[in-house]
């Protein structure tokens, strides 16, 4: 818990909100796209999407995500904050199990472990680059 005290509360809350919004967007986006008719053109896809209410929800969530994300970037390096949002991969997987009744396999559990360790490594680094810091270790 000592490591968390290094980070501003606003940063921790912002990252948590970003992960929650990422999760919602991923689940709803695929659902929205699944409802589109098959079409060979980009324009046809765009027109069909504009008539899909769920797609409007996705766009609204993306806008909310952007506003929150700009606040996060006020408090942290991009190369620090962005990889941490990978935790949404875990939340998407867990929600798929809980809400959709999908089964989780050994590889997925291993993958979650890798990601948690990866995020832990990143959390060990300074969340902001100071002007006098070198570019390499």
């Amino acid at each position: 818990m000592g490591s968390q005290s290094r980070f501003p509360a606003k940063l921790i809350i912002g990252l948590a909100v970003a992960i929650a919004l990422d999760t919602a967007v991923q689940l709803l986006w695929k659902t929205a796209v699944s409802g589109l008719p098959a079409t060979a053109t980009l324009w046809g896809t765009v027109l069909a999407a504009l008539h899909q209410p769920l797609f409007i929800v996705v766009v609204a969530l993306l806008l909310s995500q952007m506003v929150n994300w700009l606040k996060v970037l006020d408090h942290a390096d991009l190369s620090f904050a962005q990889p941490i949002t990978a935790l949404s991969y875990i939340s998407v997987t867990l929600l798929s199990v809980l809400l959709l009744g999908e089964k989780i396999g050994g590889l997925q559990i291993l993958g979650i472990g890798f990601m948690l360790v990866g995020v832990w490594f990143i959390s060990r680094t300074d969340h902001v680059t100071r002007p006098d810091e070198p570019d390499s270790p």
Partner: protein, 110 residues
Amino acid sequence: MTETTIGVLLALLCTVIEGFAQTFFKKSALAPARARLWIGLGIALHVVEVLLYTVALQFLDVSTAYPIGSLSFVAVTVLSQVLLHENVNRTRWIGVVLIIIGAALVVAQA
């Protein structure tokens, strides 16, 4: 060119676009005087990315598109170091690599 190839190429292009969009958003925080310009550019790139990713999802299963998307962590990290001069040390890179491996494993059985 098969539909799958088109989908993979579009998804890869999205990871590069995401890298530049994120860099522009961070630029807005670093240079408040030109924040609107950077945010506008970032939004424009995101709009393009949304359109391309939507098309990619029509050609690809989400289990394929999702791990490709994790490569945006590489694009963002490289661009953060090169364009924003952030201190991307070895520890941060190890974290990024572990996350990408993890993301691939998480969706491997999707």
